[in-house]
Amino acid sequence: MIYLDNGATSLHKPQAVHRAVANALQRCANPGRGGHPASLEASRQVYACREEASKLFRCPAERIVMTTNCTHGLNIAINSLIPPDSRVVISGFEHNAVTRPLHARQVKIRVAGRRLFDWADTLESFEQALKSGADAAVFTHVSNVFGYILPVEQMAALCRHYGVPFILDAAQSAGVLPVNMEDLGAAYIAMPGHKGLLGPQGTGLLLCGRNPKPVLFGGTGSESFSQSMPAYLPDQLEAGTLNVPGIAGLAAGLHYIQDRGTENIFRQEHRAMARAAADLHALGFRPFTGEHQAATVSFVPEMDSEEAAQILAKQGVAVRAGLHCAPLAHESAGTLETGTVRISFGHDANPSQNAHFRRALTKIIPSGR
């Protein structure tokens, strides 16, 4: 199978990730709970992951919280930073992982910047929204549907200028684009461990620039006499037993990425995406492409997008179709009714994947065309 659904999760992990998970399953007990070697080893594995993440994202290790996925991190961040009735600015390309928690908080949402791949529009609309009064901003680094890379450094600078705290959703960028907590000055940055960071599913990271509120309460292995959660990170947000095998795998993924270099991974993935977009054009499809694009490309086929994805799957190509949990992004691009077929490349992108994809594409060209 040619796997081109890395926007959902990276399927092909480095061998080091497999080994780290297996090793942790054999050797690690509950971290932070005991003084015996198996518990201490588990704690070391978890701390090693924090250290790897600390180097990559320039965030102190103890301010990196282990989550179960990006959505988990975003929920903590939104719950901590944004009280009900706040005025919140978001981009026109947000995932439901951002919009649903905001709706649940009953905040006043202002959508800023709806034009795909248009930094001028994004920045102008965003600044206008901040100027007119905002309590917080939440924005994605890369659109999960279209691969649009938003100008997050400039958006962060605008937030700092207007004194508006912000949350960055790095679901599609962590591991392939620079994400620097120190430079951005975010209140929180949430990311999954299982996509670009190449860890197992059930892992995620929340980088905390502020003091958050816990959403889970329970044992932490610290301050056990107290019936309140510890008031310091990471214990404050890490109630219950951590997913140590997953975290050990994530540490291996982070190490692999730093070894290869995010720029090199991005270059390889981007080359494959550009080839796929060119093939789509050549075969008469109209992919959404632009200057600021990551390794994801979407198009609207001349049939139901789910049906097209099914045909591609029968040809051995795994892609995703539909709304990709991001109706707002589709509304912005005018594809809410049709959805899109999304192709997203990963760290193992190579020309043979492109060749296979091109052959499979010929099967979804309508017979009358």
């Binding site: 704690s43 701390y47 103890e62 292995g221 610290s222 310091y232």
Partner: protein, 84 residues
């Protein structure tokens, strides 16, 4: 004195400290905090040779690592807090 300890509120800080001290060439061992030293219940500490604890505290201060208290254990097994 036969041993000294630095206590920490959580395992994460104990690990951070362990890495820093080991990088500085100090011999230390992470372990659960003895009950007598754990005022709030459950925690981790680093066990060090008695002559190293002040130097260790200086290193942790320089790296802004959050630690609790410093203790020495006498030959009779009594814990005594060390004030820097």
């Amino acid at each position: 004195m036969k041993q000294s300890y630095i206590t920490f509120r959580s395992v994460t800080f104990a690990q951070k400290a362990e890495r820093i001290l080991k990088r500085a060439g100090m011999d230390c061992t992470m372990q659960r905090t003895p009950k007598e030293l754990s005022q709030r219940g459950c925690g981790y500490c680093l066990g060090l040779r008695p002559g190293q604890v002040i130097r260790a505290a200086e290193l942790l201060d320089a790296e802004k690592v959050d630690y609790g208290k410093l203790y020495a254990v006498s030959l009779e097994g009594k814990y005594e807090e060390i004030h820097v």
